[in-house]
């Protein structure tokens, strides 16, 4: 069975400081992994995708994620948070279906 765990349900950061969103996955094989962002009353928007070509994946809006097989992790980072980054973030694994993490809500303080 495949599972995705987002370790923090809420993260609060100050504008201009780094953001770290943690994700661990469990799968019997190496799945494709995604990060999506959802702003209020909007659908999900793809930030980035890991497909085994490179362990460090760069996405849109300055986000990047690093795949670590030994730790079964796919954490999302951004060096400097912006107010517009306030949203909910989902880590997603793709195998024989999509498995969503529970989401991390990010609050950005001015």
């Amino acid at each position: 069975a495949q599972s995705v765990t987002q370790l923090d349900s809420h993260v609060s950061v100050s504008e201009g400081t780094p953001v770290l969103l943690r994700c661990n996955y469990s799968s019997s094989y190496s799945p494709s992994l995604f990060w999506y962002v959802q702003h209020p009353n909007k659908g999900l928007q793809l930030l980035l995708k890991y497909t085994s070509a490179a362990t460090l994946v760069k996405g849109i809006n300055g986000f990047e994620a690093e795949f670590k097989k030994s730790e079964t992790s796919f954490h999302l980072t951004k060096p400097s948070a912006h107010m517009s980054d306030a949203a909910e973030y989902f880590c997603v694994a793709a195998g024989n279906k999509l498995t969503f993490g529970g989401g991390t809500r990010v609050l950005v303080k001015p």
């Binding site: 009353n41 999900l44 989401g103």
Partner: protein, 115 residues
């Protein structure tokens, strides 16, 4: 360019009524997916259409739920005899080439409230 379009954006209906939710995928996308997002359950897969293949209905929660995709484009999700637990945001997504590892483009969803 045009993204995935869902209608209506909000729907309020009485328990026991039938509802239809519509999804217009991005032109040329072969795959279409429906999800449900609710506070208690998070994001749940409902159904997946890929080209002319039989849809993957494994996520539908009950036989009150059905979906069709006409002409490989527009899709309608129908919920019969609605119950209060059906209240949720229903999200539609499409992808260019299908498969679970394809990047999906989401609509803004239909917020369904059952009174």
């Amino acid at each position: 360019g045009a993204g995935v379009s869902q209608s209506p954006s909000n729907k309020v209906t009485e328990k026991g009524k039938d509802v239809e939710l519509r999804c217009d995928p991005i032109s040329g996308h072969t795959a279409l997916y429906w999800y449900r997002q609710s506070l208690g359950q998070g994001l749940e897969f409902l159904i997946y259409f890929q080209g002319n293949s039989a849809p993957d209905k494994s996520g539908l929660p009950s036989d009150r739920f059905s979906a069709e995709r006409t002409g490989g484009s527009v899709s309608t999700l129908t919920i019969q005899r609605t119950q209060q637990e059906d209240s949720a945001v229903y999200l539609c997504a499409s992808s260019l080439k299908g498969g679970w590892d394809s990047a999906q483009h989401f609509g803004d969803g239909t917020r369904l409230s059952i009174l």
